[in-house]
């Protein structure tokens, strides 16, 4: 297959806080939920003790979520609703995501897609949830039964079709994408073709197979594309310059590698996110990485996933590409289009 038909850029011309993150993180990845209704073999939570460790805090509490959303909304930051389980299992999932949109956040939901009904689709689309990402990993029932153990293929397809249909009908701004892990037994190009051309999603995210190192028992041999994006001897990790992670207890971890929460950059229950973002902990990591000494930090030295992060081929690129596809499908210009102002002042509405 022509997976690398054109060279994809991963490095940047210069490194440091991204301009959009100079005041506040561009993205806050929330461990919104720990329980799951699936047992995917590539999932770090299926292959670790972490879910057990969060039995006392399976869901992010409403008050904590709203505190995060209230502060993040002022900066228009992205809340990535993810974590150790299926977000739609949160008893207040719809209500909280709608709240986050109301207070000005951008919201990206990562879901296995098994739990949507028409009402939840309409609620999320109506609120303008920015990105709804179905983790699909397959394009046929047999493969799906292996890589998404415990879930039903027909339910996934039905729910994705319904979400797309309602999105198109309502001309919602929500981007509907899917993702698949590039792993043994999965034909990633066939998955892309099925979901983009067949089902009609806006974009397929191809994810590297990650092991999360010390956190899990995952084995890198399952990857079918282990080629690195970054030379970690030279290039800083991009995540500490754009995002942070928060668990259901309000603890801020340095990055998505630390899913066991061994680091504590601060706690959202007792400090502002802005202060944590500019605090001693993040400064320590950024200074070390910018000095080419990220590997002096034990956790970064042991991180097998740093090399798969990219300064350019990343979530922001997905947002742009998915938005372009959505706008094209709906036959009008989208929020990222340079000519939006012209259209809004002219014939749209």
């Amino acid at each position: 297959m022509n997976q690398i038909a054109t060279k994809i850029a991963h490095e940047a011309e210069q490194y440091g806080l991204r301009p959009e993150a100079s005041e506040y993180p561009m993205m806050l990845v929330l461990s919104f939920v720990y329980p799951c209704n699936a047992l995917c073999p590539h999932c770090p939570y299926t292959n670790s003790n972490i879910r057990k460790e969060y039995r006392d805090a399976p869901y992010m509490p409403e008050a904590l979520f709203k505190k995060i959303a209230d502060e993040s909304g002022r900066y228009g930051a992205y809340l990535r609703i993810s974590g150790g389980g299926e977000p739609m299992l949160h008893p207040q999932a719809n209500e909280l995501l709608v709240y986050a949109k109301k207070v000005g956040c951008k919201v990206g939901l990562i879901t296995n897609g098994s739990l949507f009904d028409e009402a939840s689709c309409r609620a999320l689309l109506g609120a303008g949830v920015d990105m709804i990402e179905f983790s699909v990993d397959a394009c046929d029932p047999a493969t799906y039964a292996i890589v998404r153990k415990g879930l039903e293929w027909d339910t996934l397809v039905e729910n994705a079709r319904r979400m797309l249909s309602l999105r198109n009908e309502s001309r919602s701004n929500s981007k509907i994408v899917a993702s698949a892990v590039v792993q043994s037994g999965v034909d990633i190009d066939a998955v892309e073709k099925y979901w983009v051309e067949g089902i009609g999603i806006d974009y397929l995210i191809k994810r590297k197979f990650l092991t999360w190192g010390v956190n899990t028992t995952l084995d890198a041999s399952r990857s079918s594309d282990p080629a690195a994006y970054l030379n970690t001897d030279e290039v800083p990790c991009p995540f500490i310059f754009e995002r942070l992670n928060i668990d259901s207890r309000g603890n801020v971890m340095v990055c998505g590698y630390d899913i066991s929460a061994n680091t504590s950059m601060g706690n959202v229950n007792t400090a502002t996110i802005r202060d944590i973002w500019h605090g001693e902990g993040f400064r320590f990591y950024r200074d070390k990485h910018l000095a080419g000494r990220g590997k002096d930090i034990a956790m970064c030295a042991g991180c097998p996933d740093w090399k798969y992060r990219s300064w350019q081929h990343n979530y922001w690129k997905v947002v742009d590409n998915a938005e372009a596809a959505r706008a094209k499908k709906l036959g009008r210009l989208g929020e990222h289009d340079d000519f939006r102002g012209v259209m809004d002042g002219g014939t749209s509405k």
Binding site: N215, V254, G279, I297, M299
Partner: protein
């Protein structure tokens, strides 16, 4: 939380003085670990590694308990790796503990 030692995922930390593996529970290989450094960049140091006997182990009364001390600013905890009798013998557990001891060289073994 989790701590991986030589590809084995241990669960912990549990408080040393209140943790016990009883005879009717799966035997374990255990690691006594000191966590130091700032909260945002912790350093884990292996203080001791051992295997529980078939009778279990009570860490507060362990013969080497007095030797398990951290340096200033460190907190100590025990991490456990269950090794069920159905799959592992006493000799297997002791062998694994010995391998981990030789790899991490407690009490100074830094976990990267």
């Amino acid at each position: 939380m989790s701590l991986k030692l030589a590809d084995h995922l241990f669960t912990g930390p549990f408080a040393i003085d209140t943790t016990e593996v009883r005879a009717n529970q799966p035997p374990v290989v255990y690691a006594i670990v000191a966590k130091g450094g700032p909260g945002w960049a912790p350093v884990f140091r292996v203080i001791d590694i051992g295997a529980s006997s078939d009778e279990g182990v009570r860490f507060a009364g362990h013969p080497r308990r007095d030797g398990w001390t951290g340096e200033a600013g460190e907190t100590l905890g025990v991490y456990l790796l269950p090794m069920p009798r159905s799959k592992f013998s006493t000799a297997d557990r002791e062998r694994m503990a010995a391998q981990l001891r030789s790899q991490y060289d407690p009490p100074r073994g830094i976990v990267a």
